[in-house]
Symmetry: none
Subunit: 203 residues, 4 copies
DNA sequence: CCATAATCGAGACGGTACGTCACGTCTTGAG
DNA sequence: CTCAAGACGTGACGTACCGTCTCGATTATGG
């Protein structure tokens, strides 16, 4: 029989289903950005999410499962730059998007993960596919358009150009630990397009 | 099966002093390249070195101490490219050295460490100084010479150029997981010097 | 083949009310005999009864409640030996009943419980009352009749005799793990009545 | 900030080897008597012994190993009654020893264990051998002597007599929860030797 | 050549965090 | 209204490492 005054405590209702999942995966992304793949532990994620660790283990038995899930649902926000009819603008736009990604918790986490655990095949598969989508699919189309417009030689090594841009962004962000400002991005694009040597064409 | 000769066991004598240190620090570098900073553990280093873990703890109480020591003695092999009187050759030489470093166990370990654990201040201090020496000191001089020769505008953003080259190498090595071939390096240098766009000057 | 008539699935209807209770409490007795008080768990009882654990918790919130209920309804089958006009026969009859109880699932469970968890006050209260009823109420009357008939000295320590018989049965059943045969019971009664020493009177 | 008074703490030295074992196994016996076999947990034993749980697991991986070890070293204090040339005295002495054992922590623990987990073969083997030694080996000899002296018929069922005595003691201790006084023991022995019925021979 | 100190090996122990398990509570939906 | 089904919280357990401590063995060094 219940106490007549049984106003129990007004405890907020348990998180269940979607809300529960949402809260946990958000915590994963935060934790990933904060401490990286290696140091991310399920108990800590659970605590950060205000949830019991057992419940997390039930849904995602391993760290890999958990992170995979977190990255999956966080990748809807991809988006790629649309062509402006000008290669430089397109490249700047693309690089800006990539830079935003690199500086986002999600991007930082994913990249750190890939860099640190490149040896681990699981990690590689996980992050590589994600990065490929982010880095190449959209941009590649822009290059094709630029070649069609005659702004770029047909034999351009697109992969090299993209790698170089991406590498420069990452070097700036992770090694020099500097911000990815618009000015930096424009200078970078100019360098890539025009070259450093004397007989180059300026914008 | 026992050896027919009753040779007692021929146990080699204990490592002491310098030999001991040498063996341990080598193992540290190997371990660093194999599993990275985070997963490197003193007991495992000791076992790989064929040494007792207590002895390692005596000399280097923390993981930081141990790795610092290992990197310190492994950095004598730096060396920088000497000028050839031609910017492109100099850049290729410099990039080749950097690439060798990136692909060496020491470089892989140090870079993975810095990239993955950039959040950790200890790691950052440790590796940043090391990289700065490796990446900039030598190269910078080559650029000054090139400017003096008129191969390069005086307002060239040297830091940007270096960052871009280094970033491209790292992207290739760690993200794309491809080898740093001479061809790749030459293409990279050409891209940086001449630019990607149509009106560029080829080598 | 499906039934042509929309017979929903022939799933047996849910157990409710009395049938539900019956099924659960039976399972409790079985479980009690099988694994004892300590290892008996409500979820397992529920599963054995083919019932949902939540429903069991609703009716009997604690293990004590559940077992108490199970023992209560299982104690109607008590019955005590009726007098035959002869002490030995009466004692054999009484011991036989006690032995049957000891060897029954209910008795095994209850006794194991009392013996093993005598430290637990709940257990003690629960089982002690039950055993007292079983062991003493009926038998005591038989002894009074025997004294009236002059078969027994008036100063006989009835409690001691009963304890000894009961103790011997339990020792045989639980320690020696042997069966409580009629022969054993008769030998036991003879020993108690006539004594072991030389100058005893045989039956 | 460290305390300015660096008085380290005067921590007592670690328990090692024999002292360590001693402390743990003592705690096992206590725990066994306090809560029985089922509820005994290695972590709690470790805490009671003031020792780390991991260290206990290292030496005795399972609860069975631990309890076996504890019982083994606690059985040196067995001792059996020596013959006095009189059957009654011998029996009283033997029963007194048995009673002391039953009331000791060790005996309580072992018996509870056997009673509660009689189904478990491990437990049965463990405790049965121990009890057999305690209950029968010594006593049996006394009966042989009594038969030789003519105090007892040669066809006496020694096992039955011993079981009955032991059973009565256990019933008294565990079911009635009463103390095993000298008076009780003497009354019990008299009952067993002389019988309860009228035509018995008193001591 | 021997004695003594410094160094290293070996193992036991304390300590922390992790992943698992079983239990009991809560919410929701079906009969 | 009762029961089923499942999700979730909660506590304890056993395990895996790591780092510390103690003791014994070996090697280098000074008289």
């Amino acid at each position: 029989m219940k106490s007549p005054i049984g106003r129990k405590k007004a405890k907020e209702p348990r998180l269940r289903g979607t809300q529960f999942i949402r809260k946990v995966l958000d915590a994963v992304i935060e934790q990933l950005a904060a401490v990286g793949f290696e140091r991310l532990s399920i108990p800590e994620v659970a605590e950060r999410a205000g949830v019991n660790k057992t419940s997390v283990y039930r849904r995602w038995p391993t760290k890999g499962d958990l992170i995979r899930a977190a990255l999956d649902i966080s990748m809807g926000s991809a988006g790629s730059a649309s062509s402006t009819g000008n290669l430089r603008s397109d490249l700047v736009g693309t690089a800006r998007l990539a830079a935003d990604f690199v500086e986002s918790p999600l991007g930082t986490g994913a990249l750190r993960m890939l860099l640190a655990e490149g040896a681990n095949p699981d990690v590689r598969n996980l992050a590589a596919s994600m990065l490929r989508r982010q880095e190449t699919e959209g941009p590649r189309a822009l290059f094709d358009l630029a070649m069609a417009r005659g702004e770029l030689p047909r034999d351009t090594d697109v992969q090299l150009v993209l790698s170089t841009v991406a590498g420069a962004l990452m070097h700036r962000a992770f090694i020099e630990q500097g911000p990815l400002t618009d000015a930096f991005i424009e200078d970078l694009v100019d360098l890539i397009l025009s070259g450093a040597s004397r007989n180059r064409s300026r914008r």
